[in-house]
């Protein structure tokens, strides 16, 4: 309860800061939406010039893209600025203050780095998914949808976990921007379905850096239904990944010696 209040306060402050420049706020909201529409547009052009991707017709692929936009939006709202914020705080020697707050440090940082523009992405993604689901004749009020939402939340933990790992590495190895850049580039692998890639990459994206759950598995659930085996493959690697990230964070907190000043 105390914590939700913190999040809404932080988000409110960011929002007010953005309202100081009203035009910029509106253009930025529009720009975020435009950026998200590019993916579906590219899909449309690819599908009108070619038969498309094997195993995916246009609306199925659109649903895939929409799912991706929702997950990226969630990640952006609650976790995307976390690593960047922490790294620059360490670099400038401003991190000590966060240790003094009456909240768990990680939760406090997450609240502080809420980015409300991500909600625009969630809205665009939901629209795209709903549209393509109706075109495909998929009923949206079923158990599958619940599992779909559950997997989307699971996917969010991959992005949160990645941000926590990068932040933790910032404490352990100071220059960790390289990891942040690597993560951004690896994230793009989620933009296309898993069956596009070779077996080695598929293994990597499912088990080691489990980003396939960002778009591939949720879309599969809506299109083909869920199986126990598939859910296990989707969820267990994420659970392990996220646990590792929390362990790393705790190690980093223990090892932290203040810098800068």
């Amino acid at each position: 309860m105390k914590y939700t209040k913190l999040i809404t306060r932080c988000a409110g402050i960011w929002l007010m800061r953005d309202f100081a420049y009203k035009y910029d706020f509106f253009i930025k909201t529009l720009a975020v939406a435009v950026y998200d529409v590019l993916g579906p547009l590219i899909a449309l052009f690819i599908y009108s010039a070619t038969p498309g991707l094997p195993g995916w017709n246009f609306y199925q692929f659109l649903l895939f893209q929409g799912t991706l936009i929702i997950v990226f939006g969630l990640g952006r709202t609650f976790s995307a600025s976390l690593a960047w914020w922490t790294l620059s705080a360490i670099y400038l020697g401003e991190f000590d203050q966060y240790l003094l707050k009456p909240y768990p440090t990680l939760l406090y940082l997450m609240a502080l780095t809420v980015d409300h523009y991500g909600l625009v992405e969630v809205a665009v993604g939901t629209t795209v998914v709903t549209y393509s689901a109706t075109q495909l004749g998929i009923p949206l009020l079923t158990i599958s949808t619940l599992i779909y939402i559950f997997l989307i939340i699971t996917a969010f933990f991959v992005h949160l976990g990645s941000n926590i790992i990068i932040s933790s590495m910032g404490f352990l190895a100071v220059k960790s921007e390289a990891l942040l850049q690597l993560y951004m580039n690896l994230m793009d692998f989620a933009r296309y379905p898993l069956n596009v890639y070779g077996p080695g990459l598929r293994f990597f994206l499912t088990f080691l850096f489990p980003i396939a759950v960002t778009s591939f598995f949720p879309a599969q659930v809506l299109l083909k239904g869920a199986g126990i085996k598939m859910l296990a493959i989707a969820i267990i690697p994420v659970a392990i990944y996220f646990t590792i990230s929390l362990l790393l964070w705790n190690t980093a907190m223990k090892k932290y010696r203040s810098a800068g000043g």
């Binding site: 910029d24 435009v34 590019l38 052009f45 850049q181 069956n195």
Partner: protein
């Protein structure tokens, strides 16, 4: 134009680049990852269809397209709109105005200095990666020279348009929204994500009258020998025409912006 002064500024650009060399090196190591994504994407699309050519592109030339897109992108990359915004918000602009060079040529020289380093450390390595791993072929001497000239013009078009949008900071102060929109629109219409020949025909016809395709798509088609010699000459002259138009508009807008400007800071 005072060439000695400009070269001095370009040298400062090289120094600025030096401060960020770590970031540039990381970019060099991580951006080729996106080539792997495009490689697998198009491989599965091409293997799924009967024909071997999509809108003038074979599989090899499609992959080369993305390698070249990355190379041109490295060369034309600029964040001058961000610099202008920060100069205005933090009040550093007055220092720039006190210098005995025009504001525009100050930034261009700086950017050219940075790009000289980018050629050495990013374009050449990506060319080599392209030749070794992604089947990039060498172009004929004429096309290579035309490509180099066209990329050079592309830089000026990209820089000019970005600068022009950056000038809107004189009116709006914070332009993070415009900058984001700029990246999306320029990237999409210049052909960073998809060759423009895959766009609907009516859209392609409109693009010929806009400057965007001359920022990336046209140099790449020159390298890949997708257009004839006459068309290359025509494309290069249109690029020059766009440069003249854009820099004339910058000149006019700058006058208005300067009138509006009242300093903060110092």
């Amino acid at each position: 134009m005072n060439l000695r002064g400009d070269w001095g500024l370009a040298k400062i650009g090289i120094k600025v680049w030096g401060a960020y060399r770590f970031e540039f090196l990381i970019a060099l190591l991580t951006t080729p990852l996106s080539l792997i994504i495009y490689y697998y994407l198009w491989k599965s699309i091409y293997s799924y269809m009967v024909a071997e050519i999509i809108k003038g592109f074979t599989f090899e030339s499609m992959i080369s397209y993305y390698v070249l897109s990355m190379i041109v992108g490295f060369f034309t990359w600029t964040e001058v709109d961000k610099w202008l915004e920060q100069d205005l918000i933090h009040g550093y602009m007055i220092k720039g105005l006190l210098k005995p060079v025009s504001f525009l040529s100050w930034y261009i020289s700086l950017e050219i200095g940075m790009n000289i380093m980018n050629i050495l450390t990013q374009m050449i390595p990506v060319f080599i990666i392209g030749f070794l791993f992604f089947g990039l072929k060498t172009a004929s001497p004429f096309n290579s020279i035309a490509f180099a000239a066209s990329v050079f013009f592309s830089f000026f078009i990209y820089f000019g348009l970005t600068y022009l949008l950056g000038l809107s900071a004189f009116w709006l102060k914070r332009i993070s929204g415009i900058r984001r929109m700029r990246r999306a629109v320029f990237g999409f219409f210049a052909g960073s994500f998809l060759p423009l020949t895959l766009f609907p025909l009516w859209a392609q016809n409109i693009f010929h009258y806009l400057p965007f395709e001359y920022m990336k798509f046209v140099p790449i088609t020159i390298y890949l020998e997708l257009i004839t010699k006459q068309e290359i000459i025509k494309a290069l002259s249109i690029q020059i025409a766009w440069i003249i138009v854009i820099y004339t508009i910058i000149h006019l807008v700058w006058k208005q912006a300067y009138k509006r400007y009242s300093s903060v800071g110092l």
